[in-house]
Amino acid sequence: MHAMTTDSTLLERLQIDAQELLALEGLSDQTDAAVFLGGSLVEGLGNRSSDVDVFVVGNAEPRGENVHHAAGGLCSVHMLGNRRVDFEYWSEAVVSRIARKLASLTLHDEGPDNVALERRLDEIEICLLHRIRVGVPLLNEPRLTALRARFDYARLARFLVEVKLREIDDALEDLYGMLDDGDVDVGILRARDLLNVVCEAYCHHRGNTNVRRKWRSKILASLARDPEASEVAEQFWSLQLEAGQPLRSDREAWRKHLESCMRFANQVTDRIIA
């Protein structure tokens, strides 16, 4: 009998039988690894078409027939009914390396490694850390708890904020030039980039460590129970959905829109760095 510790409500909601799921890879409580559900479904972000992601962190090898390398890990792909299920295997050595990287990360531009800030942690490493953080245990829950304790998530969030602040600066500098040169279409789209990055920066500032861009608005909405986040969300949507055609044909409306987006970025970053 497996040591089932999963939130059964979640599995019921997903209409997944845990035994069937684990059997796809022959996983049991004898498996020398933390086994947990991760991915968008766990966070309430995904939809009925979303894949199920199972993470196996420790000393275990995939047993499926459809296995591929995934940047430091291995991914074994299955189908369970109509759902795709990915089992991601990560070794202790890789996890230790990422833990060391996070612990020694410098959060400003200078630093012993002299590497651009955004390259100091890979997106796939950040995703793994986040999934460990929010994972729902399937087997060996204490191992998942111990795994989480190895990472300073507040530090990770601060790193992500710093990276996003640089992206905001890039977008703002682009927009200054576009305003000067009247580069209308590119300016409109770059302003939307700016809004998106501001949204991501704010979510990281609030401690969220999910870096999947497609979920940014849902994450922001999940924060919007307090007045500040609610105000940020409202401005974000108001600027994102400002009518496109008048902006393209009316130069004054275009200029005002870009300036409003820039002002929004300045207001939110002021809150972030206060």
Binding site: D169, E259, N266, D270, I273, A274
Partner: protein, 109 residues
């Protein structure tokens, strides 16, 4: 800008961004960096596009325990520099004209 009035409303330039590098706080306009001290930063962040010079001075007085007069004078002097450097614009008010500007400290380019 040679004079400011109590009712003038300073507005942050949309092209200026405020950034923190460790303990250092800067305003960045194009490629020019302006280091801010704590008081100047407080004045800058009070420039919300709605507060008048007098209200910002009052806030400085309340927040720092300074006498009202020096707080307003410091606000005026600082805003004059911020305006001269293009970091804020001033929407004209209709109140009495303040004293000519002194030479403020706290903003270094």
């Amino acid at each position: 800008v040679s004079t400011l009035t109590e009712r003038d409303v300073p507005v942050q330039s949309v092209r200026v961004r405020r950034r923190r590098y460790g303990k250092r706080i800067c305003l960045i306009l194009d490629n020019h960096y302006f280091d801010l001290d704590e008081v100047t930063d407080a004045i800058w962040t009070s420039c919300d596009g709605a507060s008048s010079v007098a209200e910002i001075g009052e806030r400085l007085h309340q927040g720092r325990g300074w006498a009202l007069g020096p707080a307003v004078q410091a606000t005026i002097a600082t805003l004059a520099v911020l305006a001269r450097e293009g970091l804020v614009t001033l929407v004209a008010g209709t109140a009495k004209t303040m004293e000519p500007l002194g030479s403020p400290t706290g903003v270094k380019s």
